[in-house]
Symmetry: C2
Subunit: 330 residues, 2 copies
């Protein structure tokens, strides 16, 4: 028996999303498609240079939690905001989606994290994240009862950027495993993988993490190879199973010698890729907690990712439960 | 010679937009399609009950200023925010659109205004506005040089809700007229008209306002008649010209005995009507400052309104100049 299907842990971030052309990224030294970490001064500079924007709650694992809840499953979230206007917005949105969220907020300083996301005409998003309050997430924020009560714990590799969040994750994984639960992670970003490659591999090889989500760029970064085949072969030995997303080429689930290829959703126009990987994980995790086959888990992931890239921002305003039912997947 | 084509004056509001069904409006006593004024307690209550939302800068005249700038014209804006996170967002968005905005911000108390906007499945928006910092806009906020330097001043009837903004408007109109400029207003909302009917009529009949924008509900409310024909006839005598929008039935421009009917844009799916009237005004005012015929002004209004109702939120992320050129109107 479990109270929650999925517990997600990650940086609690409000997204500030605007459009730009590719030249803007080059002129401002923004690595395209990546999560660029920035300090408060650069945050102000980029905001000045940014076009008119919209704001929406985001954060990788937060988006996944919202997606799991949108499928109708029970989700919880750990993440740090401040008691300020952006924090109020963040808390509202994730709770209003039905996600249990009770992490103690900071008293306004540092402020709630924000990511300035620039979306180029091809729909690709380039993120510039000021971590603010997220820097303070630590082991004291682990709500042990929720960990024990969650079938799956899922966290983002991005949590290796703040200083103490990794301690929270190791503590959480130990509690989860002691309660007979599974733990999963996303590798988050190729540059994040580059920063923490050895630690991520250790998490997998030590069994701290049972299964892993990655896109092909992150996987190739993890194993420092130019060959996806080589990387997939290595991944087979490093976790119980792995889920590798490949944008318009769909996704691959590997488990031991098994390889399951999953088709992508057909999408006419990619508006904004923000949240694609997060919503894929939401669909997959939802299916997994419902006992579906790995292929069907992947299909639910594709469905959710296909929907989110046709809108601006990473939080769907339509019901994934309804979409999954219409597609005959649930 | 003028430095600005259009100066817009209005409540500076961040929109918090979510979807709901019609029953939600009934259960929560929200008048559908209207701007419902709320206090801070009701603001918190409705926010608790609201689904996941997105945030975007809004405010009726602010949306119009952003639209005018998006057409490539020179716009300025007067409106009151606070120095808080929502105020920073507001200031950023309107300036990033190219609008001159220099109204002195409050020091955080009361906070920047927000409107919780509930969008029903038919696309209609129902607004719930906490005015916050907007309550402090007053005659000291009138930047006289900008008024003199603006070909047209445009303000919203909503400014009769805060206590001192009407003084700012009367002061502005006097300066504008002394400089040989024109002054226009929108009636804003049928219930707003009901609150300030006599004052709005006095503004028109005294020549404080040269021309007026209204939708048919506002016009009918203004003249307390059930007949649009009767209301239009009355309007002919009360202003130099009047522009009456009728949603999917297009719009009508009247000037003396003249009547110009303007077709609506063809729109397949109305996503969210937020900002429709504001963007209509933007297109019309842009055309007017460029010396186009009233019919072409109306067509530009229809174009802009037709675009904004196909997206969530009142600020277009695409260029109206480009859209106007593609449509062959500019």
């Amino acid at each position: 028996m479990s109270d929650y299907d999925v517990l997600c842990i990650g940086n609690a971030i409000v997204d500030i999303i605007s459009r730009c052309d590719d030249a803007f990224l080059v002129e401002n030294g923004i690595i395209k498609g990546a999560m660029n970490l920035i300090d408060v001064d650069r945050s102000e500079l980029l905001h000045q240079r940014m076009g008119p924007a919209i704001e929406t709650s985001g954060g990788s694992a937060g988006n996944t939690a919202a997606g799991v809840a949108s499928f109708g499953a029970r989700a919880a979230f750990f993440g740090k905001v401040s008691n300020d206007q952006l924090g109020t917005i963040y808390r509202h949105d994730i709770r209003a989606q039905g996600v249990a969220f009770d992490t103690t907020a900071l008293d306004g300083n540092p402020p709630t994290a924000r990511s300035m996301i620039f979306v180029t005409p091809d729909g690709e998003r380039s993120m510039n994240t000021y971590l603010g309050a997220c820097m303070e997430l630590g082991p004291e924020d682990v709500e042990e009862e929720k960990v024990r009560a969650s079938r799956i714990t899922y966290f983002e590799g991005y949590l290796w950027d703040p200083p103490l969040a990794k301690e929270a994750i190791r503590k959480t994984a130990a509690i989860a495993h002691a309660a007979g639960r599974e733990v999963s992670m996303t590798l988050s970003d190729p540059f994040c993988v580059d920063r923490y490659r050895e630690e991520f591999l250790e998490l997998m090889r030590s069994g701290t993490v049972d299964f892993v989500f990655a896109n092909e760029h992150e996987l190739i970064s993890l194993y420092q190879t130019s060959s996806l085949e080589t990387a997939l072969a290595a991944l087979r030995g490093d976790c119980k199973f792995g889920v590798v997303t490949r944008s318009e080429r769909g996704s691959i689930v590997i488990r031991g010698d098994e390889t399951i290829a999953v088709d992508p959703e057909r999408v006419d126009t990619v508006v904004d890729t923000t949240g694609a990987g997060d919503l894929y994980a939401a669909g997959f995790l939802f299916g997994y907690t419902k006992g579906l086959s790995l292929a069907d888990c992947g299909r639910l992931g594709s469905l959710a990712a296909g929907l989110v890239i046709q809108q601006v921002g990473p939080r769907l305003q339509t019901s994934l439960k309804h979409a999954g039912q219409q597609a005959g997947l649930i």
